[in-house]
Amino acid sequence: MKYAYIIDNVQESENVNTIAFSSDDDIKPGQFIMAWVPGINEIPLSFSSINKIKKITVKIYGEASEHVAHLKRGDYLYYSGPYGKPFTIVPGKKLLIGAGTGIAPLIPIIDGNTYGIISGKSKKDIIFENHFKDRLKIVTDDGSCGMKGYVTTALKTVDLDKFDMLYVCGPEIMLKSVFDYIKNINVNAQFSLERSMKCGIGLCDSCSINGYQVCTDGPVFSVDQLKNMDEFGRTKLQYSGKRVYF
């Protein structure tokens, strides 16, 4: 188990914080760690900054994420990793598509030729819009920020032919809607999946999709890989291993 000294904590929105720590780990965009909160749980978390100063943006959804989100300067973050296959970074024009905090692991991809779409239920879910200057479209379910509608509403306003790669991160249902929108047009895309993860090292079968482990074979899958996965956006496994429908 590794540990890191927290040097900063910034609140991004009502229930989203970014913690910062210094570490020599070589992290590639899209990789994750398993963060251990002793006595509580262990959860996968990805990076919103991968320089010498690492940043992790955490949305509070349970006890462990709440603990990590509230780590203060001087506290320790215990973790193992990094794990997982990263995004393949291509030269050329890139479009980052993130739902809510799903935009966070895409931030390290940003260079001089990157555009963005951020979707959310409402204005309070939209973070990191300042990383994109004017190269950004925002879409919310209730229209409280940017366009009113869903991620596909924003996609319809973009000329996808012009992009060399799409990078997509968010809940699987959102990923599936982007996948369905682009699957029949000739555009390259990579998707970062999130499923119930227990071990992080490809042994427990909890996060599997069509025989592939999200933790080691993913979390990043290409649009072509996903075309062969009929479980994508359809079924997932619960903690017990029971298959359920989305």
Binding site: M1, Y3, S208, R243
Partner: protein
């Protein structure tokens, strides 16, 4: 050139298939508990070199298992306390059906608290068309199951007899190294068609910076290369004492490890934890390396080396 042709011919006649009560096209089986909760995963592994897959241990009811951390690992070992998470026997038919599309045998691992539960589970598994049953008599980290059942010889004997009388497919018993007398345990399971040796060794990990046990359950089961010498010894001793058919498991990472188990008396071996190092490609590699080992050492049939080290 002539030598090369001879070697090719030889490889044609070589026999790496084996018999553990069911016929296997090679001795490399997927061990229970690793990547075998989901039919698609088993199917993929069976299509990539494994001769058979033993399912995750399945019980009567759905179980969530323990909260993470459920696994700790370093380069030498893995410690797990998954906590017998499983979807329950009622939900497992579909998974086995998917795995069976590979055309390879699937072995249903089951756990229960008494002979009645084991029998019920075994009958269900048989109706799902598994080729054999593996009785988990040895999980070291869940109260009331596994090891607690397996360390009572009378109960083991009753469970094995009951299950044998209820199903017509072979029954294997997976035993624990965490008992004072494994020979007695093996004798109690004597009616099984084969013994599976060994389950994990009870262990724990403390993080010295957090000053706490890492696993949420505190105790877990040790697997990986650090337990191989323990496994080899149990296989050897029980083969020598009881001459039962044995499936070896524990810490196999390469062909030399597998051969060691086979020479100690194992007719087949199970592969599990090492997948965290090499992925599922380990099965194809083991098959290639076994063929190469046979050619180099002038071995024609796996039968010729099973238990050959016993003296």
């Amino acid at each position: 050139m002539i030598l090369w042709i001879l070697k090719i011919n030889k490889s044609d006649n070589m026999n790496i298939n084996t018999d553990i009560g069911i016929k296997l096209e090679n001795p490399f089986m997927l061990a229970s508990g690793i990547l075998d909760e989901n039919g698609y995963t088993m199917e993929r592994i069976l299509n990539n070199g494994a001769s058979s897959a033993v399912t995750k241990s399945i019980g009567i009811d759905e179980r969530k298992g323990f909260d993470p951390p459920v696994i700790y690992h370093d380069e030498n070992y893995v410690i797990n306390a998954i906590g017998l998470s499983n979807p329950g026997i009622g939900s497992f038919k579909d998974e086995i059906e998917i795995a069976l599309r590979s055309g390879k045998p699937v072995i249903g691992s089951i756990f229960g608290k008494d002979a009645e539960e084991f029998s019920l589970l075994a009958k269900k598994m048989e109706s799902y068309k598994v080729s054999a049953i593996e009785l988990n008599l040895s999980c070291p980290h869940v109260n009331g199951y596994g090891l607690e059942v397996g360390s009572d010889p009378d109960l083991v004997s009753e469970i094995v007899s009951e299950v044998k009388s209820k199903v017509s497919i072979p029954v294997f018993s997976k035993l624990s190294p965490n008992t004072s007398d494994i020979i007695e345990e093996a004798k109690a399971a004597d009616k099984s068609d084969a013994l599976v040796l060994i389950n994990t060794v009870k262990a724990m990990k403390i993080d010295i910076h957090a000053r706490k046990p890492v696993l949420s359950n505190v105790y877990g089961g040790l697997s990986g290369r650090s337990i191989k010498p323990v496994g080899v010894r149990y296989v050897y001793e029980i083969k020598k004492e009881l001459n039962k058919k044995i499936i070896g498991v524990g810490g196999i990472e390469n062909i030399d490890d597998a051969i060691e188990y086979i020479m100690a008396g194992a007719s087949a071996v199970q592969i599990g934890s090492v997948i965290y190092k090499y992925g599922i490609n380990i099965f194809n590699k083991l098959n290639n390396d076994l063929n190469e080992f046979f050619i180099k050492n002038d071995i024609n049939d796996i039968k010729d080396i099973i238990g050959v080290a016993i003296k």
